[in-house]
């Protein structure tokens, strides 16, 4: 765990809200660290628990799932599923030897580019504090 630890964070972003927010943040030239690796999905509801686990296994130090605010879902109720799945998965993560804090769910609407930056920065800080996810070691 050195000072040069740069967390690798995979962010699942819904196409309509968070991805647009990230886009706006970019267009707006907001400062963003390069630690966040965006994966676009049509809806946060597309993100299955298995996908999150596979992401950790692939070497991510943290996983962000981001979607529209409840009520704003482009697909009416896709994020309702997300809202159930991700907290459940967080509870199960420790059984897999992963600190639940490495997984975070956040709602960021397309108008909230500043919030996007804020949420990601904060998550990066959290993961930086937790250090790299060591494969095969229970945290």
């Amino acid at each position: 765990m050195g000072v040069d630890f740069e967390p690798r964070i995979v962010a699942f972003m819904c196409n309509w809200c968070t991805y647009a927010a990230a886009d706006t943040a970019g267009v707006s030239r907001m400062q963003q660290p390069p630690n966040v690796l965006p994966i676009r999905v049509m809806c946060s509801g597309r993100v299955s628990p298995e996908m999150v686990l596979r992401t950790f296994r692939a070497g991510a130090d943290g996983v962000l799932v981001m979607g529209c605010h409840i009520g704003d879902c482009h697909y009416n109720s896709g994020n309702h599923r997300t809202a159930k799945r991700i907290p459940l998965l967080r509870n199960l993560l420790s059984y897999a030897g992963i600190n639940p804090d490495r997984l975070r769910l956040a709602w960021v609407s397309s108008a909230e580019a500043p919030r996007f930056v804020e949420v990601t920065n904060e998550f990066i800080k959290t993961i930086r504090a937790l250090g790299p996810l060591s494969q095969g070691v229970t945290e």
């Binding site: 740069e6 690798r8 995979v10 309509w16 809200c17 647009a20 886009d23 706006t24 267009v27 390069p34 690796l37 965006p38 994966i39 999905v41 049509m42 809806c43 509801g45 597309r46 993100v47 299955s48 628990p49 298995e50 996908m51 596979r54 992401t55 692939a58 070497g59 991510a60 009520g71 704003d72 482009h74 697909y75 009416n76 109720s77 896709g78 599923r81 799945r85 609407s109 397309s110 108008a111 909230e112």
Partner: protein, 588 residues
């Protein structure tokens, strides 16, 4: 139908008409003071007397009350009639020597001086009862009535005291022929103190309204207000508009109705609303009738407005100095941070109007002059040449001085010092903002809103009229503050987009849909209930789920949920996503 002779001319009368109605319909002039076509005739002023000859007997009768019976001979200008009218006018002029309408009528009958002077020359009421009848018959408030008898007779509310029955409609002041009634408002601001505001409860919304028909302001309309007061019972008040409308176009029963139309495309052009400057107390809006918003200035300067386009102060004087303050509520961390875009140019136009219509000095407090459009800069220069004083710097505060003058404080950034300007009128160029109910519209169409509250376009650069909901487009200030040319351009684009979509006759849908691998599907039906679009149906005979591709929007919720991993989202397959994940992780 009755036939009668008026001043030697044969005229015809409808059933139920009075002699006055018939005479006036045929162009005979008969003076009246207590008559109003919408009220029951009263016969009090007696000015409308005519000579009625019936069955050989001649009498003086009031034409406003006398039924137009068959065979009557009427003389409207015979010597007894003229003499009686002259005496009556002499008596009325004696009662009210300073009422112009009486003076004029009396003059017509050769009376210039009150023949029987009274002690109180300020009396204005001739007790014609128009106000009493209006209040009783039309307004149905029954606030006014007579008290006392004879020469002591007075008009007023019960015990001549303030009463809550009075709805303050002002109908009595309108019908009063002599100007004897005034409405005193306890709260400043509506009728007298401000040269703006409603004049009547029925008006054409704007001069350019399409269709150009009047609407009834149900908050001001006597009929609707009285119905509200009677709690469900129909008060049946007023209705004068209905009585006078020859086309029979007034229908009080008309209700808001919900019309359902099936459409393929929707253009959201819900516009903006004016920001309320009372939210920032430093501008003192509401504390003086001469502090008005840009929109109110438009009412004032409109030729169809209540001052007929004259720019006047609340007390009817012409202003000598006018200050226009830009960016009120715009570019302000305490209100809206964005630029409302239109204010600079309309402020310049208003400065031009003030210079054009009055001799007032105009001071513009501006932060930056955003004359960005075609010909705008040239107009800015022209206004400067007209002598408008441009002060660069935010107008910080407006103070109402004890004498009613308004002191505008601000910073002149060019001179680097504070400036104080005392003016008669302040025009606040207020911000425009998203309508207060934009969130409801957004929910209705699945739209997103930008930070400023306006509806978000699909892409700020590449797709400025589309939204993320297919077939829904934005036009004009619903998307962001725009001036007229920009709005027209934006709306044209929206219309084109909508037309292009409709012209195709078919919709191209995204290929990113879910498919079920029927070999793997166990028929557990988990996916069925998850789909927001009921795009997945269960095929009984094959015991599998199947996705209707036309209905599927490709959200992938079912994919994530399928316990058998039997569903794949095309273009967003697990494999593709995992490859992406591995790719990005490997790359870092």
């Amino acid at each position: 139908m009755a036939t009668l002779i008026i001043d030697g001319q044969e005229v015809h009368a409808e059933e139920g008409q009075t002699v006055l109605e018939v005479a006036r319909a045929n162009g005979f002039e008969i003076p009246t003071l207590c008559y109003h076509p919408q009220l029951e005739p009263y016969g009090a002023c007696r000015l409308c007397i005519v000579e009625v000859i019936r069955r050989g007997r001649s009498r003086l009768e009031t034409s406003c009350t006398y039924p137009a019976r068959d065979g009557l001979v009427i003389k409207t200008k015979s010597p007894p009639v003229i003499e009686a009218r002259a005496v009556i006018l002499g008596l009325l002029l004696s009662r009210c020597p300073n009422v112009p309408v009486i003076q004029e009528l009396a003059l017509e009958y050769g009376i210039t001086e009150p023949p029987f002077p009274v002690e109180d020359p300020e009396e204005k009421c001739i007790l014609c009862g128009l106000c009493v009848r209006t209040c009783h018959e039309l307004v149905k408030a029954d606030v006014l009535n007579f008290s006392q008898r004879g020469i002591e007779r007075r008009v007023g509310p019960p015990f001549l005291e303030k009463t809550r029955q009075c709805i303050g409609c002002g109908a009595c002041t309108i019908v009063c022929p002599t100007g004897a009634i005034e409405i005193v408002l306890e709260q400043a601001g509506i009728y007298k103190e401000k040269p703006l505001g409603p004049t009547a409860a029925i008006w054409v919304p704007s001069l350019q309204a399409v269709p150009r028909v009047p609407v009834i302001d149900t908050d001001a309309c006597i009929r609707f207000r009285q119905n509200d007061r009677t709690e469900g019972e129909i008060a049946d008040a007023c209705g004068v508009c209905q009585m006078v409308c020859e086309a029979g176009a007034i229908n009080f029963d008309q209700q808001d109705e919900v019309v359902e139309v099936d459409v393929g495309t929707v253009i959201v052009a819900t516009g903006f609303q004016m920001w309320d400057p009372a939210q920032l107390s430093q501008y003192s809006y509401g504390k003086s009738p001469n502090i008005i918003t840009g929109m109110e200035f438009e009412h004032l300067s409109n030729a169809g407005g209540i001052t007929s386009g004259e720019i006047l102060l609340a007390d009817g004087r012409k202003p000598e100095q006018v200050a226009i303050i830009h960016c009120v509520g715009s570019r302000d961390h305490n209100a809206h941070e964005y630029c409302s875009r239109i204010c600079c140019m309309y402020s310049l136009k208003q400065a031009h109007l003030v210079r054009d219509k009055t001799d007032a000095a105009v001071y513009e407090f501006y932060m930056d002059m955003r004359a960005f459009g075609k010909g705008y800069e040239e107009f800015y220069e022209r206004v400067q040449e007209e002598g408008v004083v441009m002060i660069r710097g935010r107008g910080a505060e407006v103070e109402v001085l004890p004498d009613g003058k308004l002191r505008v404080k601000g910073e002149d950034a060019n001179l680097g010092r504070l400036v104080y300007v005392d003016v008669d009128m302040v025009v606040l160029s207020t911000a425009i903002e998203a309508p207060h109910d934009a969130n409801q519209v957004a929910a209705l169409f699945g739209l997103s809103r930008s930070v400023d509250g306006f509806f978000a376009e699909a892409h700020p650069k590449m797709r400025p009229v589309e939204t993320n909901t297919g077939g829904v487009f934005l036009a004009g200030a619903a998307q962001a503050p725009k001036d007229v040319p920009d709005t027209v351009a934006h709306a044209g684009a929206a219309a084109s987009m909508a037309l292009a979509l409709m012209d195709q006759g078919e919709v191209t849908i995204s290929p990113a849909v879910a498919v079920v691998d029927e070999e793997l599907c166990s028929g557990c039906k988990t996916c069925i209930s998850l789909c927001p679009y009921t795009a997945i149906s269960f095929i009984e005979e094959d015991n599998v789920a199947r996705v209707n591709e036309a209905l599927c929007k490709g959200c992938g919720t079912c994919v994530a949920a399928c316990p058998a991993g039997a569903i794949e989202a095309l273009h967003f397959t697990d494999e593709q996503i995992v490859a992406q994940i591995e790719g990005v992780l490997a790359w870092v």
